[in-house]
Amino acid sequence: MKNTNDLKEIWKKNESTTVPPIQEVTTTAKGTIGKIRNKLFFSGFSVAAILGLIIYEQQKMQNEMLTTKIGLTIMALGIVLYLIVSNSILNMFLKNEFSAFDSSTFLDKMIELKNKLELLYKKIITIYFIALSVGLFLALIEETMSESLLHKVLSYALSAGWIAFAWFVLRPREMKKLYSLTDSVNALQNIRNQFAENK
């Protein structure tokens, strides 16, 4: 290696053999926007549908006991809260707002965002599963009152089974996402430290 200009020459020898057609990029970009819109629409639609269903249930099914009303309301609030939060998080990541910042600032913003997300995720997932479990049991009280003992035992056992499944299978699965998020924050922090050393 005679001098460092040789490095530049060697560097520039590396070219992609094929440049993807520009339509591939624009089609994917338009598709991404479409997907975001669909996700946001679906999420908003889900919130509206759940609320509508709960109001319908409260009014038409003639539930008289307060426990049923409270139970259904808690379940609905849990689902709505989960959808709103996950939707807003999705939105933050998909908007790519920091992508044109300088890399040091970009890393700061990403770390800040991921830290917020981590905290939010931990709390929201727990609230969501507690709300579903409590709400379901409260709603079951009135539903099972007129049933035979066997039916009552079966209803509660099935509900308890579902809650156990949600708590011990679904919740840890959601929490795994959180652990990978924590890994990402640590890795970003590590790179950020390299930039700080260079400042």
Binding site: M1, L7, E24, A100, S103
Partner: protein
Amino acid sequence: MNFEEIYKQYYQRVYRLCMGYLNDKDWAKDVAQETFITIWQQLGKFKNESVIGTWIFRIASNQCLRQIEKEKRMPKGQMPKEQEDKTSNSIEAKTAFLYKCISELPESERLIISLELEDINQSEIASILGLSEANVRVKIHRIKGKLSEKFNMCEEWMQN
């Protein structure tokens, strides 16, 4: 400058930056594509406050940094398979060796040297990465020294 012109003028340069950071052809192509998708989406927001090249390389650098989320795919320092068997002093072998050496550097240094080799001036590199110009200059000097040393060792080894 419209998107088509940007794409034609910058695709290979962005691809090389991604290759310098990742040293994996397919992955570099994916990240280059993600970069141009972001450019397409954000082009309307570009306000001529900086040079368009600086803006493009900021997006590309940040897109590379985001790959930390896919860390498990990172083939740090691996030679592409087709290059591994080549023991000749060919330009392809040298190119593969250079990219391998760069991919073994810490992330920030990979970006600094890739931008420098792409002929971007040091004040622009500082602006892309958010570092001081003096530090960029020192870093480039050190990294080039390291790379030249590795190349000399490699050339000696090939001659023996």
